[in-house]
Amino acid sequence: MPVAVRLEHVSFAYGPGAPALRDVDLTVERGEFLAIAGPNGGGKTTLLRLILGLEQPTAGRIEVSPRRRGYLPQRAQTPIDAPLTVRELVSAGRVPRSRLLGPARGSDRRAVRDAIDRVGLGDRADRRLATLSGGQQQRAFIAKALAGEPELLALDEPTTGVDVEAQEAIAALLQRLGRELGMTILYVSHEFGAVEDFVERIVLIRERVVFDGSPSDLPGVWHDPSHAHAAP
């Protein structure tokens, strides 16, 4: 499989303090669904931001081949203080794939409708985002990212504040979308119980890569007991 993301000896520090990441090597193949987990402050979000080009490494080399990238930031929400419908949110995600000037074309409107349907919010497309549950809002943000037809989808703590059932539903949705659309998915979370049945590979980060392999190879003590399928 062609490589989507390659990090070689990457280190990063915010200012002159201790590095957030040290000497990280990581290769992600195209179409892979990868969970990046670890403790709070362990460097997961930093790693994701480096891959997306939002930060520059202090050492090492990063190659990211997919040009179309979708991003769900931590606690995905908009800063705006005005009513925003699901359709308007998702339409904002379509803009990078459409012409910049003038109104949206019919094909863009269809792509937006398709993205909303894919996450199961077709009957709520014209509802205000603020009136939806936390899980539904996360689905709306996933639809926003999908509307841009990303080859690489990066999600930072996409299930924060969402109940366990909704977490697993979102993980299953991502697995299905990844397969249907051939996307490479990077799923960052401080706990991975919700995704370990759905991802092919888990990378644990604590400044460095401390585990990289199949969820079934995880030591038992690292499994999350809040999910029914976790190992004993």
């Binding site: 040009r67 800063p79 705006i80 005005a82 803009v95 990078p96």
Partner: protein, 271 residues
Amino acid sequence: MLHLEFMRLAFGAGIVVGLLAPAVGFFLVQRRLSLIGDGIGHVAFAGVALGYLLDLPLVLTALVVSVGGALSIEGLRARRRAAGDQALALVFYTGIAGGVVLVSAAGALNVNLFQFLFGSLLTVTRTDLAVIAGLGAGALVLIAVLYRPLVAVVVDEEGARVSNLPVVPLNALTAALAAVTIALSMRVVGILLIAALMVLPVIAAARVAWSLRSTILISMAIGLASVLAGITTAYYANLPPGGTTVLVAAAAVLLAELRSAPAHLLHRLAR
């Protein structure tokens, strides 16, 4: 009232300003930059002072200096050289200090600066109206044409950056539009109060609207109604139009708050 030419000119300029100010202000409010209009207003004061000193058209000098100030604020923010409020404070105070020094150097401290600070019905000339209508219409068309990318940036700036939208130029354009709005509005509302006309109608509209698009359209309607009511009141009560216009816009916020309060209460009770 409309048989007087100066009132027709004031209303003409007011219509453009009433529509344009909230349309630009919508993007500032959503980016939590409600006070940028105040900062640019103070820079516009330096522009007016420069016009006095160099004996140039005041709208022109205010326009050039305001756009420069707005782009400086945006540049400092974008390069993370200063937090948003620090960048604003730097340009804000430099603008007002520069204005005072320049006005003094021009020997114009005895000029009636109040007409620029709070607006005046008597100051809009035919040339001013032509400039205001031309630039104002151009700015509104630009907002309509770039509405989708501008919204994409305010909804999720980092997401827009990751997906390679031209975020920096779009933010610079928003700041420049704010500067143009302020320079065009100083005759009608005054440079100290124009920021209110960019912000208050948007706050009121957000309380009663049902989507982003309806918010911007309702805010423009409130802005227009505020200016028309403000100018009419100013004429009959012999008051500065800036003050009356902004008070009408503030009343609109209060009314919108009262209208949305029962709905919020019902929503809370239902939960």
